[in-house]
């Protein structure tokens, strides 16, 4: 019987199966940030088990609130900084080198096809874009991952989503995943892996695939996953060129993590995107999805472009194309947060930052801050934000605020119009 990508990874990393449905896996990487890790560190210290399984496999960053906004966030930074130092965790990214974890770690080459990765962050599913099994976990799982390099999962039942067709102008990976979540519902993939495939996925860049996989959790999915292909190898090439004599050899090696044609899926869903319209959310759940045309004219107070979903260079390029030579509406405030220092630097080089500033955007340093209402763009009661982020939960960007999720193109257009609008009208 054939196997899915996740089944192949589970088989290759299995350490123990204490019950038929419990798979304890060896971890290739444990990612850490300053919000969920300090409690794990404090607990390990309290248990007199302040050790790490392998400092080379632990990657840590301060990204949620950076620079620290108060004494409490400064303390969180201090705890993870001192912990990284005393355990020789050299891949620790402090201020000046730090960025949003799910943008930064792939950019540093820390993700490979077949890897098992956990992090105390639900959007860890992003890294499945590389053909890895990457799952968000709580602090206790993280703590055991740090200490022992293992994590327990249930059997990786998989939903296959085949995405056919070419994306129309003004429609992006974000619109595809919003449409998919709208169909699956917020628990349509609970306890399941979502395997994305089909011509539209094959045509996507790694950045777009990361946007797609990033939001698997919004349908309840454990991990979003794309089969490794030539696009994956091309992205990884600077990091793997000493391991393989050519990209073809690398592709052949990674192809063991492609699904078998006769793999068994719990559900198969087909979606044709060739006529897909730009999507936007309207309520307090990510599956409350409508087309932009259904929501046109809804006023917004703030526009936010950034986050682990859509703060990458491609996202900034798309937004800048729409903003170039134009000004945001007087009664709107707009914020852009390039997700990593490299993205920021590249955007500077390409003149993108200047376009944002000329248009009236505030450009912040890389941080998660505003997305979860912690810093750098919190909403007041009754305010509405057009955001390229991943969650529209009640109070998510600030108590009493409303968030509409959308693509960077639509968000840029919202900044110009002061209301939800299709980006196509600002093209050219």
């Amino acid at each position: 019987m054939g196997k899915t990508i996740a089944e192949k990874i589970f088989e290759s990393r299995l350490v123990d199966q204490p019950t038929p449905d419990t798979f304890v896996l060896r971890l290739d990487a444990v990612f850490c940030h300053e919000i969920t890790t300090p409690v794990a560190i404090n607990d390990l210290v309290a248990r007199d088990k302040d050790r790490v399984f392998d400092p080379g496999k632990i990657k840590a960053v301060i990204d949620h609130v950076t620079p620290a906004k108060d004494s409490k966030t400064a303390l969180q930074g201090k705890i993870i900084r001192e912990w990284a130092s005393r355990h020789g965790i050299t891949d620790f990214f402090d201020i000046g080198r730090n960025g949003v974890c799910h943008a930064l770690f792939p950019e540093k080459g820390f993700v490979r096809p077949g890897y098992t990765i956990i992090m105390g962050d639900s959007h860890t599913c992003t890294h499945g874009a590389f053909g890895a099994f990457a799952a968000g976990v709580g602090t206790t799982d993280l703590e055991v991952g740090i200490l022992k390099g293992v994590c327990a999962f249930r059997a990786p039942e998989t939903i296959k989503i085949q995405v056919d067709g070419n994306l129309p102008q003004g429609v992006y990976a974000k619109d595809v995943i919003l449409a998919i979540i709208g169909r699956l519902g917020v628990n349509g993939a609970t306890n399941k892996v979502i395997e994305f495939c089909g011509p539209a996925i094959d045509a996507m860049s790694m950045e777009a695939r990361m946007t797609l996989c990033n939001m698997a959790i919004e349908a309840g999915g454990t991990c979003g996953i794309c089969a490794p292909d030539a696009v994956t190898v091309d992205y990884l090439w600077p990091f793997i060129k000493d391991e393989f004599d050519s990209q073809e050899t690398a592709l052949k090696a990674y192809s063991v993590y492609r699904p078998d044609p006769d793999a068994l899926y719990s559900q198969t869903l087909k979606i044709d995107v060739s006529k897909l319209e730009p999507q936007v959310t309207y309520g307090f759940k990510p599956d409350n999805v409508k087309t932009v045309s259904q929501m046109t004219g809804t006023p917004v107070h703030q526009v936010y472009i950034g986050s682990c979903t859509n703060g990458r260079i491609e996202d900034l390029r798309v937004a800048a194309q729409i903003l170039k030579g134009k000004k945001i509406k007087d009664n709107v405030r707009a914020i852009v947060s390039p997700a990593t220092p490299d993205i920021y630097g590249q955007a500077l080089k390409e003149g993108i930052i200047e376009i944002f500033m000329q248009a009236g955007f505030c450009v912040t340093n890389p941080t998660c801050g505003a997305c979860l209402g912690m810093s750098n763009g919190v909403l007041a009661e009754g305010e509405v934000c057009a955001a390229t982020t991943n969650r529209n939960f009640n109070g998510r960007m600030g108590k009493g605020g409303m968030v509409h999720l959308m693509s960077p193109a639509t968000a840029a257009a919202c900044a110009l119009a002061g209301a939800i609008v299709n980006s196509e009208q600002f093209k050219g």
């Binding site: 419990t22 969650r391 939960f393 009640n394």
Partner: protein, 174 residues
Amino acid sequence: MKSFNGNILFLDRSDINTDEIIPARYLTEVTKEALKPYLLEDLNMEEFDAAAGIKDKSVIVTRANFGCGSSREHAPWALEVNGIHIVIAESFARIFRQNMFNCGMLAIELDKNTIDRLFSRFAGKPCKLETDFENSRLIFRADQLDETIAFEISDFDRALVNAGGWVDYADSNY
């Protein structure tokens, strides 16, 4: 082992997410105890007053997909420091459910009909739960009403509760 008995808080809504259970603005805390005053502060449910709703409650009974969204274990911790060690629902989000068992707490799934019946029989009345963990039974009691319901959990989840959580289990097994 923790206590899984006490007064029940009924939350009649599906998809209650971890931002509603404990908003991100309180994630700057590095101790569990500091989360205590903020449990369910952003719960989007009409006429729900968090402080009054939680008072003296040790059990939550709710609908589908409880604990969806963020992976924050602060959500189970906020329950734990308020003395709530058991949540009974139609279904749970994966990470939340795992976090509950990892902390040695119970996330019990019952089918929709049973949850519907519990709401219609017991919600709105003062009622208590007694949990017979060994025999996998939940005993609901209200004035002149009681009902015993069997529950299922996997052997692994049971082992985690008996071990007091995943850290101790993993440390002695791996």
